[in-house]
């Protein structure tokens, strides 16, 4: 339902530009359906659905259109409405195509008051920064199509999303450090996930400083936003596939899969009563 509502919303924003309220209503229907689904998931799992990559994808799917709608209302623009709807729909589609095995368990290290604020703030940051990059690419594509140079105003809205996303990213990083100190005794251990979190943060900090000095170079700023988003994706998904992933204590999905495989292997080898 969320997927359908967001696809219809993006279509309606294009078809009825003078009646954005139609798209807004459809967008809200999508937000409510995905929000409701996540509420049911939270209740049925008996823990916050924030542990696995699939679960965080649901949060992302919810946060992007929500943030898109709220910021759109705040600044009275629907420029990001279509990208927000399409991104939300894309992440719902990914989750439907690759559903997660629902697991109710939560490792002791994750049973912390920091768990929910840390992940939710990160998801909001990812949503805002993701929208900023998509908007930058969108506007750049439009400029290329119209055979003109990217104008400074074209990147204004994308920049606003960074102004929202970067502080959230900062909070997420620091909440993580406070939590790590409680759980493992070290606020920073250069774990691969931490390193990538620092890289993402650094990439957007660099963007902010470059933008502060070179606001009149929109193409440079848009490029940095796109690079920043690539690093962000590396931190969220990519790090699980890197050689360093084995050294990370943050890849809970992989740990649980390995634990299930190990359990089965043990039972196959130590199998004295399999004929019962």
């Amino acid at each position: 339902m969320g997927l359908g509502a967001w696809l219809l919303a993006s279509g309606s924003y294009v078809a009825w530009r003078k009646k954005p309220w139609i798209g807004d209503i459809l967008m809200m229907i999508g937000i409510l359906s995905v929000g409701l689904m996540m509420g049911v998931m939270w209740a049925s799992l008996g823990r916050p659905p924030l542990r696995t990559l699939g679960e965080t994808r649901w949060w992302y799917a919810l946060c992007v259109p929500t943030l898109g709608l709220l910021i759109g209302w705040r600044f009275n623009t629907r420029a990001m409405a279509v990208p927000a709807c399409l991104m939300g729909a894309l992440f719902v589609a990914i989750n439907l195509a690759k559903p997660d095995a629902m697991d109710k368990t939560l490792a002791p290290a994750l049973q912390s008051p920091w768990f929910v604020p840390h992940v939710v703030v990160y998801m909001l940051a990812y949503a805002a920064l993701g929208l900023s990059s998509v908007l930058a690419a969108w506007e750049w594509g439009k400029a290329l199509k119209e055979k003109r140079a990217l104008a400074v105003e074209d990147t204004d809205l994308a920049h606003r999303f960074v102004l929202v996303g970067l502080p959230l990213l900062t909070l997420g990083l620091i909440f993580g450090a406070f939590w790590a100190k409680e759980a493992w005794g070290h606020y920073w251990t250069w774990d691969p996930k931490e390193t990538w979190a620092l890289l993402s943060w650094g990439a957007y900090l660099t963007y902010l400083h470059v933008r502060a000095r070179h606001a009149l170079k929109p193409a440079l700023n848009a490029s940095l936003l796109i690079v920043g988003f690539a690093v962000l994706m590396g931190c969220w998904f990519g790090v699980n596939y890197l050689p360093t992933a084995q050294e990370s204590v943050h890849t809970y999905t992989r740990m649980y899969e390995e634990s299930a495989a190990a359990s089965t292997a043990d039972q196959k080898t130590a199998d004295p009563m399999s004929a019962n």
């Binding site: 005794g185 390193t195 292997a265």
Partner: protein, 411 residues
Amino acid sequence: MIRTLKPSHEEKPKQSQASDAVQKGFWEGKLGYAHSWLVVMTTLCMGTVLHLVSGPAPSNPLVLGVFGLPLAAAAVFVRLKRHSETAQWLAGIPLAVVSTAVALALALFGGVLPSSFWNSIGLPSLWASWPFLMVSLVVGTNLSAAVAKRAWPMTRQNALFLMSHLGLLITMAGGALSSVFIERCRIAIFPDVALNKAQTERGEDVELPFSLRLKEFTMENFPPTLSVAHSADDIKSGSHYAERGMKEKIRGLDLEVLQHIPKAVYDGKTFKEMPWKTAAPASLVRVSRDGMKIAEGWVTSGSVDVPATLLPVTEGEVVVMNAPKPKRFHSLVELTEGKETRELDVEVNSPARVGEWQVYQISYDEELGAASQYSVLELIRDRGVPVVFFGMFLVVLAACWHLWEGVGVKK
């Protein structure tokens, strides 16, 4: 060379300025990105040479003191010569962008290449290498200069700038303090004896000012789940807990738990409830396909006293019970300090504090699980933490302020 941003007309006649600009040397013109690249790359090369000559950076107060000098010097210099070109550059964005970019590029290597790679080139890790530390030093120097530049006058804009930049600088300084002065050691504690000797990572003994004895180790598990497996690599796990009455469809098979014993032992014929710490969960499972029963039997994930049991369903297809995942492990510890004895509760996410030491639950005998006869604790004394947390607190305040402005500023 220190020059002022606005040279007086008396010093240079107006008409000669254009030709002067052409004739100016590299360091005499306006300082910017080219100069930043040169300085940062030179520092990187110096770090590399230092690494080749002396190996990884030693973690000692002398190095910390030497690293503090450029930061302090930059701050003093910028305050004294605030309007000079050099001060502007030292505290400016080009140096910030270039030094951060190079530090991040190095961090990228650290985030991609595993520790085995760094070990193979004689480094415990990238983070303790001279090149990384030297580039970080440039980042710190730039930060220090920027903070000094904006420290006065205290306008609203400067206050926000200071909160974020000074917060970051303090966090970095605290991190450096931590890396030098942190004391970490581990101790395995047992029920019968009070121990006061812990070991560092390098295997050195550390005598603690108190002794610790394990009074009780408790472990709780989540109920197990069931899986249908073709091989160790081809498993489809269910999501429902194996509890009496549980029904779940996995790989086209309908599984129903007819009976579940959370702590069971095998008596040679069947499974019976036994409240031993070494007992294992066991479920009597009925397997059906399209309403037709095809197998029924006990499955258990096993323990040291109970052999693991799986239920064959079809050729090459078995129902297994996944090992229960730990929900909580907790050590009740008796601490004796002088003549005083008290109890400590230690568990993950809830460390205990003993003076300056923080005590963390780290491990236990994983083979015995709940029946573990010992508990492994980590003791940490990190005097840099208050500094780091103060810096982080400032950054959090600044982030909230930025967020407020980011949302609040109208287009």
